[in-house]
Amino acid sequence: MFSKHVTKNLSAYCHGEVAAEESRRIAEHLIACNRCRGQFEEIKLGVKLAERLPQLAAPDSLWLDLESRLAADSNQSRVESSKQLRFSFKLWQPGFAGVAAGLLLSAVLGAWLFYSRESRPFWEVARLNGSPRIGSSRMDEKGRLAVGEWLETDGSSRAKIEVGSIGHVEIDPNTRVRLMETKPTEHRLELARGKMSARIWAPPRLFFVDTPSAVAADLGCAYTLEVDDSGASLLHVTSGWVELQLKDRESMVPAGAACATKPGIGPGTPYFEDASEKFRQALSKLDFGYVVDVPDLQRPLEVVIAESRSRDTLTLWHLLYRVEGKDRELVFDRMATLSPPPKDVTREGVLQLDDKMLHLWKGYLENSWSNQSGLKKTWIKIWTGALGKVQGLEGKK
């Protein structure tokens, strides 16, 4: 059964103004309740917008105007022998001014140091093996990773990060990650190199990982993400969905599928890991223009089409957006053979990338993309569909 609705507390939740226990209750409720989750998305957008409200600079004339009014008041006061406004310059004689300036400087430095070290938000980190480092210090059994700090593991060390109350991330050896942001509306990690495994238990689009070639947005899932020295990455999803994005290039990756990314290009096309070797090699050539040791791939799209199975419509559906003209027709025809479109979806509409038709068809195709059954499928629907508007490829032309 649902607990009490949480709509009244959503802004306070976004601002971290509710107690930890209440925060956990709200997070759990949001997972299960469509209505509150819809409102959470709306309030989260309102928060993001309000955060763009700039502080404005007062005009320089403000002090001059104020000073003249002060002077006028002061003269008036003198005439009236009033002592209400009494200005003394005694304190600002040279000797005192030097001491005061020194004290002020110390106070500013002290405050800055205090702020930078103590008041930044942080995540708890636990050492799993070896000697991971946070910044330049080796960590003990437990440590704190503050916003802006790097966590680095060498060849023999591993660590586990608690992502607020929404999940955890395990950091493999030879990995370098940085905490970019942590607040109720967004948790963001940068993976510069190495490998991490994330398990996130929260509404979609709260946890992001920046890599040199794409941003991974969690849609309620578990996955591993690996970045090599060239900045290329490889994502494997083990549960739920992950979205990869670089500028206007996006890929939605479900459980059982993988997706590569390359610097300057972004995410490639997602594919199921049980697809044939030829299929995967041809797709790599199609996405990134090369593949190692396979000289006979003259026409990679034809290989992908010939090798595709029913569940590979995941790959074909993404390719509809990425190829044009005759190639798009070939992709459509193969998809229609493997999984005929529902009656309101026409060939012409799909070839013109009609959003409504594409998403209607995708709704049908998703059954073959999921290796979950029954209850689990429904559960994943709650995560991704109802929020729906998982803004993956929607609206993309």
Binding site: L45, G46, P54, R69, L85, L91
Partner: protein
């Protein structure tokens, strides 16, 4: 109008406030420098972008601050005391103006675009402008908590103290304010999320 770049602000401690109480003009200048942008920003947003009105009210606030600072006993934080003065001054001035101006008459926020630094990214400015325009359309009850939260960075507890209401009321008004912004500016989702 310029948007404020991040820079170090003067530190206002008890000694500065004590010196202000003694009528020390330099201490008052420090106080002014620390809070002028914050006070002015609230005034501009409260008066729908009318810089002249905002300057007038900001002056009144600082003059009042000088004369009334002797009454500040330190029972609450100085900022809470100051912002209560700011909120009251803005509301009073709005009431006065409502008597003399036709309803809704104010300077368009677009007027304040001209003097912004060129180096700001266009897209970001566009979002900021749209947010400013949407803020202007909120009722004062919903607008002020948004300003105190996002321009001044106050906590719910501080906003409640400044506005003389409960934390629950602040949370509820912020909820309504956020939803109103989201509904008016839903088309900017991709720009900010």
């Amino acid at each position: 109008m310029e948007q404020r770049a991040a820079m170090a602000e003067p530190i206002i401690d008890d000694r500065v406030i004590e010196a202000c109480r003694d009528g020390d003009r330099e201490a008052f200048r420090l106080l002014f420098e620390a809070y002028k942008d914050k006070v002015f920003s609230i005034a501009v947003y409260s008066f729908g972008g009318d810089e002249a009105a905002a300057s007038d009210v900001s002056q009144q606030i600082f003059l009042k601050l000088m004369t009334a600072i002797g009454q500040f006993r330190g029972d609450s934080a100085f900022t809470t005391w100051l912002y209560r003065m700011v909120v009251n001054a803005c509301i009073d001035e709005q009431r006065k103006r409502r008597r003399f101006l036709p309803f809704g008459e104010s300077v368009p926020m677009s007027k304040i675009e001209d003097r912004r630094p060129q180096e700001k990214r266009y897209a970001r400015l566009e979002v900021a402008d749209s947010v400013q325009a949407a803020i202007k359309e909120l009722t004062p009850k919903l607008r002020m908590p948004i300003l105190l939260k996002y321009v001044e960075g106050l906590s719910y507890e501080e906003i409640a103290t400044v506005m003389g209401c409960s934390k629950g009321t602040v949370a509820s008004r912020l909820n309504r304010g956020h939803r109103s912004l989201a509904r008016k500016l839903g088309h900017l989702r991709n720009e900010v999320v």
